[in-house]
C-alpha cells in the first residue's frame, strides 16, 4: 500500500519538475534554425546562388545546398536517405530483426494449431 503511494508521489514530483523544464525550454532557449533570411523562390530558379561562409547550423547548409547537390524537392526525404543514409540502413535492419524475432516466437504456436486443425 505504501509502495503505491510512494510511486504516485514520485511521478508527481517528476511531472512538476518536467513542467518547469518545458516552460524554461519554451521561453529561454533560442530557436534551432531561423530560416527567414533564405528566399526560397530564388533558390528554386537558380540552384547555385547560395553562400555558406557563415552558416547558422547544419539545417542552414542542408536547405541551401539541397537542390544543387541532390536535385530532390522533398528536403526531408533527402535528409533521411542522402545526408543521413547510414541511420536508415540501421533502421531497416531493426525492422528485419523485429519481424524475424516475432515470427520465431510465434512459429511453434501456429504450427501446433494447424496440426490440431487437421485432426
Amino acid at each position: 500500500m505504501i509502495k503505491k503511494y510512494l510511486s504516485i508521489f514520485a511521478c508527481l514530483l517528476v511531472l512538476a519538475f518536467g513542467c518547469w523544464a518545458m516552460a524554461y525550454a519554451y521561453f529561454e532557449v533560442p530557436m534551432t534554425y531561423d530560416g527567414s533570411d533564405v528566399d526560397v523562390t530564388e533558390l528554386y530558379k537558380d540552384p547555385s546562388s547560395y553562400d555558406i561562409n557563415d552558416p547558422d547550423g547544419v539545417a542552414d547548409i542542408i536547405v541551401k545546398t539541397d537542390l544543387e547537390q541532390t536535385r530532390a524537392q522533398n528536403v526531408v526525404a533527402a535528409v533521411v536517405f542522402d545526408y543521413r543514409g547510414f541511420d536508415t540502413i540501421g533502421e531497416s535492419f531493426i525492422l528485419l530483426a523485429a519481424i524475424a524475432g516475432a515470427f520465431v516466437i510465434l512459429h511453434g504456436a501456429v504450427k501446433k494449431g494447424k496440426e490440431a486443425e487437421k485432426e
Binding site: I62, L95, A98, I105, L106
Partner: protein, 116 residues
C-alpha cells in the same frame, strides 16, 4: 502555441512510466511502453518549429514569395524513432501471447517461477 505541445509531451511520458511501474496486467504494461514512445516523438518534432514557416518542400505550385522553412532535421530523425517504437511494441506483444499460452493468465504477480 508550442507550449501546449511541450506540456502534452511531458504528461504523456510521465503517464507511460506510471503505467509501467504500477500496473499488474501485462497488456497494460506494454501499452504504457508505447505511450512513452509517442510522448518523446512529439517533443522531438516540436523542437524545430518556427512561427509562420511552411513545411520544407520545394513544391513550387504552393509556395508564395515570402515563405521560409522550418527545421527539417528533427522531422527526419523522428521517422526513425517511430519505426523503432512500432518494432518494440510488436515484439513485446508476441512475448505476451506466448506467456498467456504457457501460464494461462496475464497477471504478472502469478508468473513468478522459472519453468524448465
Amino acid at each position: 502555441m508550442m507550449l501546449a505541445n511541450y506540456l502534452t509531451a511531458i504528461i504523456l511520458i510521465v503517464l507511460g512510466l506510471f503505467c509501467v511501474i504500477t500496473k499488474k496486467d501485462l497488456i497494460k504494461i506494454v501499452l504504457g511502453l508505447g505511450i512513452t514512445d509517442y510522448g518523446i516523438n512529439l517533443f522531438i518534432v516540436s523542437l524545430g518549429f518556427n512561427e509562420g514557416g511552411t513545411s520544407p518542400q520545394f513544391a513550387m505550385s504552393e509556395i508564395m514569395h515570402g515563405a521560409y522553412f522550418v527545421d527539417p532535421v528533427p522531422q527526419a530523425l523522428t521517422l526513425t524513432s517511430i519505426v523503432i517504437g512500432a518494432c518494440v511494441d510488436a515484439m513485446a506483444l508476441a512475448f505476451v501471447v506466448m506467456l498467456y499460452r504457457h501460464y494461462g493468465t496475464t497477471d504478472s504477480t502469478k508468473i513468478r517461477r522459472l519453468h524448465g
